[in-house]
Subunit: 446 residues, 2 copies
């Protein structure tokens, strides 16, 4: 029951659960229902000592004496060995976890927002206390991603991680793709089905995906990337017309979190972490990841391309990841040790978006007269941006009269800075009446 | 340099590599080329102390003084901490690994044939010596599967594992599917491209996949399943006509390794482990896994369906998995501990194939006259096998004359015993001139 610094007396493993929402209630349920199996796997029984909630007086279907709103007291209890934090958001979770670590408790958290900003501070506290800090559930829910990256690929060199790591936006984009719906009605559907929150900003503006990108980049490249370092664009400007254009180019549109290792001309290594909606060729494995599913593609020097696929959210899937961490932390307690430490030795600078080589898709309305395409193409050429594909079509107004043309350009790879300068210049051209859309294209070899 | 029972003095981590083939040479190369990174991740440098080979006199592109044919002496050296076994087959690898473990060395092996028959004995020896025994590379090459199952899903209940775990047969079947080739010519292509060995028996008869199924079932269900417990059918009887029929049913054909947890009516749990070619619906994620790629689908109670995808063979991908294990074992040495033990507490009996509920696809030639379909259907009904789909088509001989009919039947789920009895009875019917093919169907909900 008591423990000091990772040594355990062989009795029970005491667990404090912070938060009793969707995930927390599943965690508590599985600890109870699968007690015999979990005990056999750990070598000692898990016992929930208390559950931290905001309001301890409400009936929540668990033994009322377990509930407490005094979280600081709960995580400091002598009979607690491991703290499971599934309450979010950053505060008060950060303080509760720091208190737990200071008191020598191992910590399991699903809090991506917190890990994306405070991973360094928390890892240091865990290191100091010689305890475990696990956070598999913070990225891609039930899908094992953190452990494969930190352990299975520990002897390889990861080059790139690209993932669909937000179920809400993937549901919306899949819906737009399959039904031709526009963004607003797909969002409304997602809200009605419970896939989008009342305030969907964190999802649709890419903040959630950016937090996960920061965690993935930190893990994959043995460095520290914070959510603030991640370049971010959301999906709110993606239109039904973009999906139609994408389809005609053999693509769909996905919100991607991309982490890359870049080597400059002089051998200096940098990392890039970015989130944006991008055209993805239909034959790319991420193109087939639909609805609320998540997937992460990892490219490593020796392993080649790996993909991890599954449910990225939801109470039970997230609880599965939390419980995996909990069992591992408990086993380490029973064995009197701790798991492998994070290795953060690289301290790689983060490259700004401007230097990243990407491909652009630009959709614009232009005047329907001779010389327009040439003027448009000249703007690309001036900045040494090579054009891969152009489509031009006439547009007609309500009365059936020609009223201009639409041009879609897909470029080869160029620096993001050159591409965005080109788009700005196009917008200034007298012959261009509007830039309808600018999206990047990913997952192609050019 | 010296170590006793998992405690390390903080100097070098000595490594002995057994085997210098495709995988071994990549392992040695990466240890050298990525030395700085690996040292940072481990906390101490890796040093290759020796390489065990059959003939130490041949030039192999490594420092000749590292080569030795005295494997027993190499794995017993005081300055060796970890033994990497990538020489296969079962013997002499088994003896070398046992000697290494007895001398307190941690062991990393890619030897699926060995792990499928001797996992219990080796795990016991590792437990006794309090050292690590890792074997991620034994299943699905570079794809992290063992660690996700043993760690990430340690708090969940795995219900089913279904995988494409043999690249040679998947290449052959993909080729037959995409080109309409028959088995013999697809095998010849695979041999010419180096995807099939001179004697392809281990691959095409399913022995390799059965070894991996044994390992997966043992890990997933916390029990011991040996290769001999795995029901096994190879792909040599799959025909071009089967692929044509499969396609018309919206399916392709894959060699699957399937591990399932079964609960009898009285609550008794059993496991099933089996390997056979099966029809798989095109919308199933495994249907899209083509060529030499591998994929493993895991279904767990809380996590739902997960998929792991990547390169299942080849020198570099397999080396990636070996090196991940090596870095983890080395980190444990540096930290003076060992990783989590295997948890084998379940001791579940293995169910015979006869009791397994499956679906059958049966393709037969019959006489072209009234009452035939009724006679055929009666044999299914007698054994309470429900028919899901029937296709009958007339056949014409060389002169354009009707010469019989072909019937394809797809059943609903029934016990394998009832299905195989039905097929035997059909073969005895006077109106059935030949049973062309019998394959199972997997990955459907019915």
């Amino acid at each position: 029951m008591t423990e000091t610094n990772g040594k355990h007396d062989g009795g029970h493993i005491g667990v404090a659960v912070l938060g009793l929402g969707n995930v927390g209630s599943q965690v508590v349920r599985i600890i109870e229902e699968d007690a015999a199996d979990l005990t056999a796997r750990i070598g000692a029984p898990l016992v929930v000592r208390g559950i931290g909630v905001r309001n301890a007086d409400r009936d929540r279907g668990v033994a009322p004496e377990l509930l407490t709103d005094n979280i600081e007291a709960l995580v400091s209890r002598d009979d607690v060995d491991i703290v499971v934090e599934v309450m979010g958001p950053v505060d008060p979770a950060r303080k509760a976890i720091l208190t737990a670590l200071e008191h020598g408790k191992s910590v399991v958290t699903a809090n991506k927002a917190l890990m994306a900003v405070s991973a360094g501070e928390l890892a240091q506290a865990a290191e100091h206390a010689h305890v475990d800090l696990y956070f598999e559930a913070a990225v891609a829910g039930a899908i094992p991603v953190i452990r494969p990256l930190t352990q299975s690929l520990a002897g390889d060199t990861v080059l790139r991680v690209a993932g669909i790591v937000n179920g809400t936006t993937n549901y919306i984009l899949s819906e737009m793709d399959s039904t031709g719906a526009d963004y607003a009605s797909a969002l409304a559907d997602a809200s009605a089905l419970g896939y989008a929150e009342a305030d969907p900003t964190a999802d649709v503006e890419g903040y959630d995906a950016a937090a996960k990108a920061a965690i993935l980049a930190s893990i994959a490249f043995h460095t520290r990337v914070s959510a603030d370092d991640v370049y971010r664009e959301g999906i709110t400007k993606v239109t039904a017309a973009d999906f139609a254009s994408a389809r005609s180019l053999g693509c769909t549109i996905k919100l991607l979190a991309i982490c890359e290792r870049l080597t400059d001309g002089d051998g200096q290594q940098r990392v890039s972490a970015r989130v944006y909606p991008a055209l993805v060729p239909l034959e790319h494995p991420l193109a087939a990841v639909n609805g609320a599913f998540n997937a992460v593609v990892v490219e490593a020097e020796a392993a080649g391309r790996l993909m991890f696929y599954g449910q990225g959210a939801g109470g039970a899937p997230t609880a599965s990841a939390v419980l995996g961490d909990l069992v591992m932390a408990a086993r380490n307690r029973v064995q009197g040790g701790r798991g492998p430490r994070e290795s953060k030795y690289a301290a790689l600078p983060v490259a700004p978006i401007g230097v990243i080589p990407t491909r652009y898709y630009v959709n614009m309305n232009v005047a329907d007269r001779p010389g327009v395409l040439s003027a448009v193409a000249a703007e690309f050429a001036k900045r040494e941006v090579s054009i891969a594909e152009v489509r031009q079509e006439g547009m007609v107004d309500g009365g059936g009269q020609r009223c201009g043309a639409r041009i879609v350009v897909v470029t080869h790879r160029a620096t993001d800075a050159a591409l965005s300068e080109t788009v700005a210049a196009l917008a200034d051209l007298e012959v261009v009446s509007s830039i309808n859309s600018v999206l990047r294209m990913e997952g192609t070899s050019e």
